[in-house]
């Protein structure tokens, strides 16, 4: 249950509605904390080339705080960590935090930031749940790397084939439509998991 909801409301509605103020305050807090974290770890591990990955859910805020989705950010951060370790990159720290607008999971690696960004894009595009997360990558000074600057195509919308940012900025799809597509992605991932375990 979200802190500002009554238990009765939570039992009645599947998804909570968050105020704009709550969402904006949480985003700004997370942004500032990520910047501080990157700078303090860079200072602590000076002499190493560090890069950071911050994983959040890619869906409207009222879905991000829905219980069953909370683990996805951690699950995909762990998938990225595994991919880094397979390539012998060291992970110096990792963590997770629940903000008022949803979960966040992060890791810091001794790795070139462009390599980390490419690996994050592979997870976003190749993992069965990748479409449901945003993995932001920064360098040791908390400068964000963008797909566009690195020559990658912008991400597609969860619902249609258009650019995600255009659909999101124009609020092109209803919450229920987005939720249905998310459920379909999760069902596919569960089906894949059970077929692997057979």
């Amino acid at each position: 249950m979200y802190s500002s909801c009554s238990l009765r409301d939570c039992n009645r509605k599947k998804y909570c509605v968050l105020s704009l103020q709550t969402v904006l305050a949480a985003r700004e807090l997370r942004w500032k904390e990520e910047e501080l974290l990157a700078k303090s770890l860079a200072q602590e591990f000076s002499g190493h080339r560090l890069a950071f990955a911050f994983c959040t859910l890619r869906m409207p805020a009222s879905l991000r705080i829905y219980g069953p989705y909370k683990e996805i950010a951690v699950q995909l951060r762990d998938a990225l960590a595994e991919a880094l370790m397979e390539k012998a990159f060291t992970i110096i720290a990792s963590g997770q935090k629940q903000y008022d607008d949803g979960p966040s999971a992060w890791l810091a690696s001794c790795c070139d930031e462009e390599i980390l960004k490419r690996m994050a894009i592979s997870i976003e595009e190749g993992h069965v749940l990748g479409a449901l997360v945003d993995i932001d990558v920064t360098d040791a000074e908390a400068r964000l790397l963008s797909r566009r600057d690195m020559g990658f195509e912008p991400r597609k919308c969860l619902v249609c084939d258009n650019e995600a940012m255009v659909c999101s900025a124009g609020q092109c799809h209803s919450l229920l439509d987005i939720a249905a597509h998310i459920e379909a992605i999760i069902s596919d991932s569960m089906a894949l998991r059970s077929s692997k375990s057979l």
């Binding site: 103020q21 904006l24 985003r27 940012m165 999101s168 900025a169």
Partner: protein, 89 residues
């Protein structure tokens, strides 16, 4: 009302916008708009930014808007916060 200090409001997360206001020595306002959806919404973002700066009556400022696909209500809220922060001692 002159802008007194450099401030930011917002973030560079997807669907958000980072507004940075810095004081300049001249009386006018300089606008610098960046957006990943500049083709679709660039004009609207500039129009809202100019309207809000003018209605707040601030002068001597550079307003840098880095939009990551924010909704109009988000842009307005971030601009309002940044303007408030820039004029408080």
């Amino acid at each position: 009302m002159r802008v007194l200090k450099s401030v930011t409001a917002g973030s560079l997360e997807s669907s958000d916008v980072l507004v940075t206001i810095t004081p300049v020595s001249e009386d006018h306002i300089e606008y610098d708009i960046e957006s990943i959806v500049i083709k679709q919404y660039g004009k609207r973002i500039r129009q809202i930014t100019e309207e809000m700066a003018e209605s707040a009556g601030i002068t001597g400022a550079r307003i840098h808007v880095q939009d990551r696909g924010a909704l109009e209500c988000t842009l307005r809220a971030r601009l309002e916060t940044a303007i408030e922060r820039s004029i408080v001692c």
